[in-house]
């Protein structure tokens, strides 16, 4: 084994990690939002995931209500809560699309 190889590899790895840590301090805030991935697109995806999950919980609630495992009072209360959450998510999504 070449005696220099561990040293060369060590130096290479050090430079790589130092660059990884330091580079965020040399770029502007806007670039941070869009680098390495488009922040807006990521936000949209996250909100869509949350919306999908919210709807899934709603579907489960519907099934529980239909099979008698949730009382009418609870069903209305929980459905209203989920609905409010969905309204919030949809308005956040619309806000992102407008921007």
């Amino acid at each position: 084994m070449d005696g220099m190889l561990p040293i060369v590899l060590g130096v290479g790895l050090t430079l790589f990690v130092v660059w990884q840590i330091a580079r965020s301090h040399f770029i502007s805030g806007d670039q941070l939002d869009h680098d390495p991935e488009n922040y807006g697109a990521e936000q949209t995806r996250t909100l869509n995931d949350q919306r999908a999950r919210c709807l899934q919980v709603l579907r489960e609630l519907e099934l529980d209500f239909a099979t008698g495992k949730v009382s009418g009072e609870d069903y209305n209360q929980m459905r209203a809560g989920l609905g409010r959450e969905l309204v919030q998510l949809v308005s956040q999504l619309k806000g992102l699309q407008n921007n």
Binding site: M1, G3, M4, L5, P6, I7, L9, G10, L13, T14, F16, V17, Q20, I21, A22, R23, S24, H25, G29, L32, D33, P36, E37, Y39, E42, Q43, R45, T46, N48, D49, Q50, R51, A52, R53, C54, L55, Q56, V57, L58, R59, E60, L63, D64, A66, T67, G68, K69, V70, S71, D74, M78, R79, A80, L82, G83, R84, L86, V87, V90
Partner: protein, 672 residues
Amino acid sequence: MTHGFSSLSPFGNYALCLAWGLSLFGVLAGIYAGRSHSRAWLHSVTNSTIAVGICAVVSLVVLAIGFATDDYSVQYIWQFSNRDMDLIYKITAIWGGMDGSMLLWAGMLAVMGALVAWNSRKQSRLLMPWVLAVINSSSMFFLTITLFLTNPFRYIRADFIPPDGNGLNPLLQNPYMAVHPPTLYLGFTTLSVPFAFCMGALLSGQISNEWIRLTRRWTLIGWGFLTAGIVLGGHWAYLELGWGGFWAWDPVENSSFLPWLTATAFLHSVMVQERKNMLKIWNIWLVTLTYGLTVFGTFLTRSGVVQSVHAFASTDIGWVFLVYLAFLFLLTAGMIWYRRAELRSERKIESVLSRESAFLVNNLIFLSITFAVFWGVMFPVFSEWLGDKKSIGQPFFNAINVPLFLLMILMMGVGPLIAWRKADPKRLLNTLIWPLLGGLALALVLVWGGVPGFYPPLAYGLCFFVLLAIGVEMHRGLRVQRAASGENGSLVGDTGVMLRSHRSRYGGYLVHVGVLVVSVAITASMAHKTEQEFTLLPGESFEIGRYLITLDGMKEIENPNYVALHADATVTIAKSGKFDTVLSPELRRYKRSQETTTEVALRMSLRDDLYLILAGVAEDGNRAAMKVFINPLQVWLWFGALIMLAGTVVVILPGAQQTVTVAEVSDATERA
């Protein structure tokens, strides 16, 4: 000294140092980013956490290269490898001893941290700096131990490089050992992620159910790996240890089982928090307990406080784990106290007869089993403190845990059918009556049919009850779906729609079915096992159960690694005289270590396993001393575990949850 920069090991050690330094940076920078809300520092800590993972993987790869190239200048490689070993076992030897297994653990933890960091870019900027600080602190703890106390890159303490190594323990030279420990470690390390999110939420003050939502998949993946790891370990023990069983309540087996129990409890109780915003503090404790128990397992295997067939030699690093555990629990208690106002439940359990209560009972059963197993494991230590060291074995664990497990099975049937908040007793009884009668009828038929004992018929009856309850639940769901589809739907189509629309729910039931299959297999193999010891001359036969075993002959086999005494035995069906198979058990003596192992010969079938061991040569020198077990329904244990894993995959996989239509959103928002 002939060693120095002649191998890559200094680079591996350097990568480990770098990982340690980066994890320290990650903790400090994470805290700073959390307090200052600085985007640049969050970006920086995200990248450094990914770099910790990269450096730890580099370190592991360098150690693997050292094993593959027989670099005996490194003490650990010399200790656990030799030139005659196959490449697969040279790689397996990485986790054959303590130093390498600690590096593997630290490496996997760092990779989990890197994955969390990679995904953090799309998650809350208020929460993530704290999450990354916590996950870096976990990595730092394990990297500290690896780097300063159990460094696998230490050079051998000799003035020359030995020409060959000591070799790996023969028991570990088994394909299962290539996958069992890494799978288990994947489970342990993945379960550190929910803890990091939970602590991150407490530290940042982002105490909504967001951390639960973000970690649900991590918890399921960790639980799946832990389940797979435990079952693989059981299968290894079954095939390799030659005692006819798969689980001995050994301290090391228990150390993987303890976090599995609390993780299972958490997976259930988290549903109450998601639905009803209750049990918040309870869930925080369950997550902490689960992570703490993974650390406790490491303490158990490394400290030498308890005796185990698996445990590594006694070392002086146990106290480090104890200090860390104490810190974990104090931190959790402190944070819960600090956030007590925000953690107060919005609702209370209103009725004993409710889904919330059922989940709580389920949790209490899991925690009772956890406590019983913990007590059994630690009893030798506690009794030694009182002056008289005693250990307790299988009878204790079975006596306590069998009734608790049966109670848990009962709850598996009742829980899914009971209503939230307050169930109507009459309605619940109407729903449960047929499953209950079915289970009772089966138990009575089995007693009448001569199935011995109290627990076995009860266990089969309860499993049947749960199976019927799942059937009732699915039938009710299908009825709702059929009503919604109207005249247009077909039975098959509606079933498909129902399963796809409620994938998590029915995936969970599939896991329950897997548990039932495992339970039946464990009951059958424990309660109806047959075992016999006998000696045979070539040509002689021995009858056991429905099998007739005839010894064809014995011979000695020479291998570069070992010398084996090999027997061939023909198995015929006793009643019909029909040839079935030839079994060839071996007794091996490994040349280097002089250790003896039994190689079990196994005939597996859906009905039972015929498990044959060659114990040695009887006193007269010609007779083969053998031991045979018939384990009924044993193979179903492994099938059941596969069903559990399949169910977990169904719950985890993204799919139906993502396909939401605009109409559904509008509909739901309109209703709001």
